[in-house]
Structure formats: C-alpha cells, structure tokens
C-alpha cells in the first residue's frame, strides 16, 4: 500500500446560519486505504461527505484530490474526477428496472472515457455491462432480481445498487454513507467481503458507519467526529480505548466533570 495521500481535507468549516456543523476538520486519506468515520448523531459525518463531493459548499478550508483543489466544484465535476458517493437515504431511480439504474451512470462522460468498471475501453451495450456490474456486486444473474422494478427490491439490494452506481463510473474513491445501516446480520456478513474486494481492486474508501464491529473489521484507520470537531484519529483499538470517545458516545462517568462542561 502506498502512503501518498489521495484526499487532503484541510481546516474545513461549514456553518448553517449560526450552527457550526463542521469546525476546522482536517484529515487525509491515503491511496488504497479504508478510512472509517464514526461519531454520534449530528456530529457532521454526512456534512463532511457532502462537502467533499460538492453537494454543499464548505464555508472555509480546502479539499484537495490528488493534489488538485476540488473545493467549491460542482458535484458532477467531482464525480467526474472519480470521487463517488452513496447516499445514506438510498436514491435509486425507483420507477426503472434495477439494471436500468446503471445505464444512467454508464452514460456519463467518465464512464465513456474509462469504459465502466473493469471495462477496458469502449462501452458495448450498456444494458449488458450494467448486468455484469450487478452480478459482481451480488445480484443473481440467473434470476429475476436485476430486472425487477427498483421500488420492489429489498433494502439490501438497494444498498448494493447504490454501490453499483458508484462502480459504474470506475471510481478512484467511494465514500459510503452508512452502507451497513438497515441491513440484517446476514446481509452485512455478505457485504463485508464485497468491501474488502473493492479495496483489493485499488479503490480508496471512506466509510461512515454506526455499525462499529463491522467497520473495525474492514477499516484501516478510524476518525471520530463529535459536534463537528475531529476528536481522535487512529487505529480501531486506539480509538476505542480513548476516554474522549467514550465520553462522546456514552457521556461522562464523572458527574462534576459534566457539570463543569455545561
């Protein structure tokens, strides 16, 4: 694994009116690694995803991808560079059959340039390519599932479809916003090897999760956010034993300390 940073986030601040959603958050992601971001509800995890992918503009600070400034660029330009994301609330095209969902990203300039996931060059029939991608991501090819209307699919498949939409672009980086949430234990168990395989394919991942056990299984590094500020960064053990993290999640054991904070 090379240690050069692929994504550098420096001092990013985002305010919504008087609310500070992110307060000077800085971190780096190295090429090929999996960075996990955890934190209690409302700690700014999704906001950081939105800032990096351009869906909202950071109030101040800079975000660089491969050394190029991407702060303030529109989302489609950032996706075009290969930084893709999944949505926490899944956003498939509900009225279309599942495989037609992928025809749309495959139509994008980036997919045409790169030939889509694993594609070597020119795209052939987009329908076939999209079913190929769906098969790799866990849709059974010899069943009706890839052809079913998206609105009839269970959550597990929708989460995979979100990932597949990213993969269709042949991404360099995928930012997963809670891909494990809402899934059953067995669904998560089948999702973990998938994530590991994406890493083996050389894709850098940022994972935002509440399912800590599964996250620690796959992530190389963990960053903890609390109230829009970076609390700790380090390996899973370091993070879990850190008293500040415990305090953020469970509250302080010491009553006087809580009172003095208040």
């Amino acid at each position: 694994m090379t240690a050069e940073p692929i994504l550098q986030v420096k001092e990013v601040t985002k305010t919504f009116g008087g609310i500070i959603a992110l307060n000077r958050v800085s971190f780096e992601v190295n090429s090929g690694e999996i960075l996990g971001i955890i934190g209690p509800n409302g700690s700014g995890k999704t906001t950081i995803v939105n800032c990096v992918t351009g869906f909202i503009k950071a109030t101040s600070g800079s975000i660089c991808f491969r050394g190029d400034e991407i702060t303030g660029k529109p989302p489609h330009k950032i996706a075009d560079l290969g930084v893709t994301r999944t949505f926490q609330i899944m956003r498939p095209y509900y009225s279309l059959p599942a495989y037609k969902n992928l025809v749309i990203p495959l139509y994008s300039p980036r997919a045409r340039r790169t030939g889509g996931w694993r594609g070597g060059g020119r795209l052939g029939d987009r329908n076939t390519v999209s079913i190929d991608i769906l098969e790799e991501i866990g849709f059974e090819r010899d069943s009706y599932v890839p052809y079913k209307t998206t609105s009839t699919l269970p959550t597990g498949y929708l989460k995979r479809l979100e990932l597949a939409r990213c993969l269709a672009l042949k991404p360099e980086m995928i930012i997963c916003d809670e891909v494990f949430s809402g899934l059953s234990m067995s669904e998560i168990a089948s999702m973990v090897p998938l994530i590991e395989r994406l890493q083996m394919d050389g894709i850098t991942l940022i994972m935002i999760e509440h399912r800590l056990r599964e996250l620690f299984q796959v992530a190389n590094r963990i960053m903890v956010l609390n109230f829009g500020e970076k609390l700790v960064e380090g390996s899973a053990e370091e993070v879990m034993t850190d008293p500040r993290v415990k305090e953020a999640y469970f509250g302080s054991e010491n009553v006087e300390e809580v009172m003095s904070h208040a």
Binding site: A79, F87, Y93, I104, S108, T128
Partner: protein
Amino acid sequence: MSTAAQQRRKERIDRGIKVRTDGLYALMSWRELSYLIAPRSILIVGLLILPLVMPGLYWPRVITIVCIYALLAMSFDFLAHYVGLVSLGGAFFVGVGSYLSAILNTSLGFPPLIAIPVATLAGGGICTLALLPCLPLRGVYFAIVTLMYPLFMARVIEALDIFGGTDGIMGIDSFPSAWVEQYGMIVVVLIFLFGLRRLVNTDLGLVLRAVKDNDQAVKASGMNITRYKALAVFIASAIGCLAGACLAHIYMWTGISTFALDFSVLPIAATVIGGSGTLVGPVLGCLILVPVSELLRDFGTLRIVFYSLILLAFVVFRSEGLMAYGQRKYHQFERWTQI
C-alpha cells in the same frame, strides 16, 4: 472457463430472463403482429386520410390548427413528463418561431420551405438561451417563470414598436398549396411523434427521465444535469418554434397574438384529456379539443362554458387520460379474445 464460453453463458442466461420480464416476445403469427401494428397504423392512416374526407375551405384549416396544437402538446408532454420541467412557455416558442420565420421570409426572401427549418433550429437555440437562467428551478416555479416569457415578449414588441409593432408582419408567403400545407403538417406531427417516442426509450431518454426522478443521483453519477435539461428544452422549444413558423405561413401573417396564452394552455388541456406521458395522448387530445372548440362556436359566448364543462368532465371521470384508459382496455381486450 474461457471468455467466449463465459460470454455464451451470460447471453443464454440473460436472454431467457429478459424475455420473461421485459415483455419481449418473439412474434409468431400475423395475429400477434397485427396486435402491435394495428393501433399505430390506425393512427397513421387515420391522420393521412383526414384531409381527403374533410373537403371544403373551413375544415382543412382546422386540421392544420389541430396539427399545430398537437406539436405543442407533444413538446409540453415531453418536457413535463420525461424531464420534469412543466413549461407554460408554449406561447413563447410559437411566437419566437413565427416571428423568426416571418422575418426570414419577408426581409431575407427565404421561401417557406427553407425559412421554416431555419426558424425551427434558430428558434430552438434562442428559446434555450432565454430559458437557461431558469433551468435550476423546479416544478411550479419553473412553470411560473416560463409563463412570464410570452407576456414579456408581447409587451416588448408592443412598447418598442419593433417587428411591425401591434400590426405584426404581413405579406408572408403561404405554402405552395393547401395539400402541401395539410400533408406537410400531418407528416411533421407523425415524424415528431414517433421520433420522440423513440428518443425517450434510448439511453439518453433514460438519463432525461432520471433527471426528473432523482437529479441528485444523476449529479453523483458525474453528469451535468443543466446540460441535459438544456438539451431537452432545445428539443421541446424547437418543436414549438416549428409549430409557430408553420402558423405564420398558414395565416400569412404574424403578430403579438402568437404570444397569446392559448398556445400555452390548450396543449396542457389536450395533454390532460389524452393522458400525460404517452405522447400519443396529447395528439389525440388535440384531435378532440380543437374541433370541439370549433363546433361550439355556434353557441357564441356560451362556448367557453361548454368547453370548460367538457374539460371538467374529463378531469373528474377520466383523470388518467383517454390514452392510458384506451391502452388498458386494449390489453384487456386482447386477453379476452385469447380466453
């Protein structure tokens, strides 16, 4: 397993399931073929023989007006149902198209058959540029802003007294003959009808529908949604301008009344009656609404009352639209005969 064998396996699996899920089936007999072809051919043949069974001076003109409204209604339906932009700017498209074609014809001396295509493309470009600032708007906001454009243009022409001012532009060449006029319009309607139907089922059409359903996901897929919206507006406004250009040459006159809101509102009513999202429906709606409006002329001012009542009845009793209803019944009928 070699790649060739893998490829064969994929194809074999996909074919079987695709056939069963996509409603694709091999056509076995003339009966099945005719099931698909009959409705289309009835429409085509029906439209083509209309001028023959409608002699006289009055009704042929109604046919061409039906065609003009049909073009507008198709463009409205395409934009509203497949791209999610509800446009009340139909009158703007018509006005721009008719003024352009009129100027090309009277000032530059282009014959109608050249002025119309040029006005269509140039008008589409102008309308798209004009609407570019409001493309980020959605839903009812886009509708309100586009409604402003025709009103705005009419006032500008009136106030600045350009393009003939309130008198309009007169002395525009007409079509070579009434037959060219009627058949030209009918063929144009059919071409655009089947062209649009094909377009919305291509991958590009899928992207446009995705922009309507879920623009965030399209952005996240690395596509500039404004570009696709602009492309769709260009297609729709070019169709509207074509209608306007033809109108100028049919009446041999153009004026501020081409920016009248009839051109924005009647296509919407036709779409409601015909069934939105079908593209054929709006054409059918125009075929009903325009002649009905002509027939009701005998009632004088009560015409609007009856017209509104008919519209109301459709909205209450057949809110899905005639075409959607017809399609359902047609498929049921096919089942019945099989049983």
